[in-house]
């Protein structure tokens, strides 16, 4: 690492992170020193901007500007010459290509979405179930919790991904895929059987992605007030009824958080096939930056749609206890 070339920019950017909030703070000081009477509301607003100004500057530099650039590039054909990038405007061509010419992108995309849709219920039900078990008072709870949160720590490691790639995952659940596939193929039709087998193959990997979700559910279960359950119990509700009528509705905001987290996590996972494909197109195989940018934007837009859909659907089911 040499410092000489980049010291200037490091200093500028680091300075920016401190100078911008300092400026906002000093505006208030200067105004009041000059003798302007500031309303309380204005002062509080300045305080607010003081705290978040750093983030806004970062947002402009590291997100808004790159996003804009990639949007711009996505309408162009990019030629890389030895010295510079050459852009020629081609309109919507890059956006039409995956539908007209590219035979790889759409199948990968639908596969990713299908995987997500089948994984999402598994992840949610499994993590809710496990976290309900693990919030009970019992000997050894600490050890179980420690092990259950472990995927959070090492689950994202490339090491683990590689292990699963080698089929260690199916060994773990003790399902002999060989015999299973025979059974499945005898009783189910081809496509469904494929799907079931694929699911079995991925199940451990899916379970490995539940660390954060379990954690969120455990925190959520602890925030459900015990008085409500006691009241229901006094009125003669069974444990089953308490779960469906009290715990689950009280937990619904947490479930929404988990749905959102799971969707984001699987869509932005760097090992995701769509993202790997975009990377191959743009950065390694043929350096088609414009096309990669267009793919990235379409993918991003679809994440956004999914999110909006999830929020829309959930708004009918989520129950906020504080609201009247």
């Amino acid at each position: 690492m040499q410092f000489e070339d980049n010291f200037f920019w490091v200093a500028v950017l680091t300075g920016l992170a401190f100078v911008v909030p300092a400026c906002i703070l000093s505006i208030r000081v200067i105004l009041s020193a000059v003798g302007v009477r500031l309303t309380y509301k204005f002062q509080r607003a300045m305080d607010g901007y003081f705290y978040i100004s750093t983030w806004i500057v970062g947002f402009l530099i590291f997100l808004a500007w790159p996003l804009f650039q990639s949007l711009y590039v996505s309408f162009h054909n990019v030629k890389i010459t030895s010295s510079e990038l050459k852009l020629t405007f081609i309109g919507w061509e890059n956006y039409a290509e995956p539908f007209l010419e590219d035979i790889h992108f759409l199948p990968l995309f639908t596969k990713t979405v299908a995987n997500l849709l089948s994984d999402l219920p598994i992840i949610l039900v499994f993590s809710l179930f496990v976290s309900i078990l693990v919030v009970q008072e019992m000997p050894g709870r600490g050890i179980f919790r420690m092990l259950l949160f472990m995927p959070v720590v090492i689950g994202s490691a490339i090491v683990i991904r590689r292990l699963f790639g080698e089929g260690v995952s199916t060994e773990a659940i003790g399902v002999s895929v060989q015999t299973l596939s025979e059974v499945v193929f005898t009783y189910l039709q081809g496509t469904i059987a494929d799907w079931v087998l694929d699911l079995v193959n991925r199940v451990t990997l899916v379970l490995w992605r539940t660390g954060v979700q379990i954690l969120i559910f455990v925190a959520g279960l602890h925030s459900v007030p015990i008085t409500m359950r006691e009241a229901a119990k006094t009125d003669g509700a069974s444990g089953w009824q308490i779960f469906w009528r009290i715990t689950l509705p009280m937990l619904s905001p947490v479930i929404l958080v988990n749905v959102v987290y799971t969707i984001v996590d699987s869509f932005t996972d760097p090992f995701n096939e769509v993202l790997t494909y975009i990377q191959t197109v743009g950065l390694t195989r043929d350096f088609r930056l414009g096309y990669a940018a267009a793919l990235g934007w379409m993918y991003f837009a679809s994440i956004f749609l999914f999110m909006a859909l999830a929020l829309l659907i959930s708004s009918r089911f989520v129950f906020y206890a504080g609201e009247r």
Binding site: M1, Q136, V153, I154, G239
Partner: protein, 312 residues
């Protein structure tokens, strides 16, 4: 009153549904719970155990089907090979700089920003917070090329600044998630503390630094640990920003391990020493530091999760 609530809580646990059952039902439920939990934990532990056991096998043990879990001899030579092949200490140093530096910067910056979002009403706050959530949705691959060009123009290639500088601004790897966690935590704290501090003449920075941040210890632990291990495990961004092998982090070293080892061993005529066991040893060495940190901090971590109110 408080006592009786406490007793009920003790007897019923968090779910509060078990008391009216007969004793044999309770025993049965307890046993079922243990069986399920042990199974699930086994699924989570399996890859680690597999990795460790394989890493100690000799070539003969690897081929021998009767050797399932415990190798005949503990063959530590695999670890020697892995350490020298990965240049472990150098790569570990790089990983530590990146993950520790970004972890600290992200924790401080995100808590600072989140405090503003959580506690102070200012025009446009809700829209700006939607923007924060929006940044969480952007897949890194969408903006990686412009960012690459930006960092290259700034002379940041092959340095750690592409990781540290965004962290300083509260961005970086999943910065939005950390802001969210801190915001939820700050929202539950009593307002009187800040009011008192402001009446006593504290400026906005000292309110944050001397009053709110010390109260946020549970959230700090959670965010710092997450940031640390996610940066440690991060593979995508280091592949983009680091070229020089001397600057490689551990996951990058691991990915080129087989080539490096073959080259290293070629001169010594000992090609068969390199095998799957060495890869497993190397993999274990890569995930070991976060695991050790987790083992030591898990008590605080689990407690913090209960107290963070991560959700609401």
């Amino acid at each position: 009153m408080a006592d009786s609530v406490f007793v009920i809580r003790q007897r019923t646990g968090v779910l509060g549904a078990l008391t009216s059952r007969k004793w044999w039902e309770l025993v049965f439920l307890r046993i079922a719970t243990y069986i399920i939990l042990i199974n699930v934990c086994f699924v989570f532990l399996f890859p680690v155990i597999y990795m460790f056991s394989t890493s100690l096998k000799t070539v003969a043990d690897l081929a021998d089907l009767t050797v399932l879990w415990i190798p005949r001899t503990f063959f530590w030579r695999n670890y020697e090979l892995a350490i020298s092949g990965m240049l472990y200490w150098q790569a570990a140093r790089n990983s530590i700089i990146i993950s520790l530096g970004s972890g600290i910067l992200q924790t401080v910056a995100c808590s600072f920003v989140a405090y503003g979002f959580a506690r102070i009403p200012f025009p446009g706050r809700d829209i700006l917070f939607l923007l924060v959530l929006f940044t969480f949705l952007v897949p890194p691959q969408t903006i990686i090329v412009p960012l690459f060009i930006l960092y290259r123009n700034l002379g940041f290639m092959d340095t750690y600044f592409p990781f540290l500088i965004p962290a300083l601004f509260g961005h970086g790897l999943r910065g939005a998630l950390f802001i969210l966690v801190f915001r939820q935590f700050f929202r539950n704290l009593p307002y009187e503390l800040e009011d008192a501090a402001r009446i006593d003449g504290a400026g906005p920075f000292s309110v944050y630094w001397r009053i709110m941040l010390p109260l946020a210890t549970p959230a700090i632990i959670v965010v710092f640990l997450f940031s640390l291990v996610w940066h440690w495990n991060d593979f995508f961004e280091p592949t983009i920003y680091l070229f020089d092998q001397n600057n490689f982090t551990l996951p990058l070293r691991l990915s080129i391990l087989s080539a490096a080892l073959l080259q290293m061993l070629a001169g010594q005529g000992a090609g068969d020493e390199f095998n799957e066991a060495v890869i497993m040893a190397a993999s274990f060495l890569v995930i070991m530091p976060p695991l050790i940190i987790y083992l030591f901090t898990q008590r605080y971590f689990v407690e913090s999760v209960d107290r963070t109110g991560l959700v609401e």
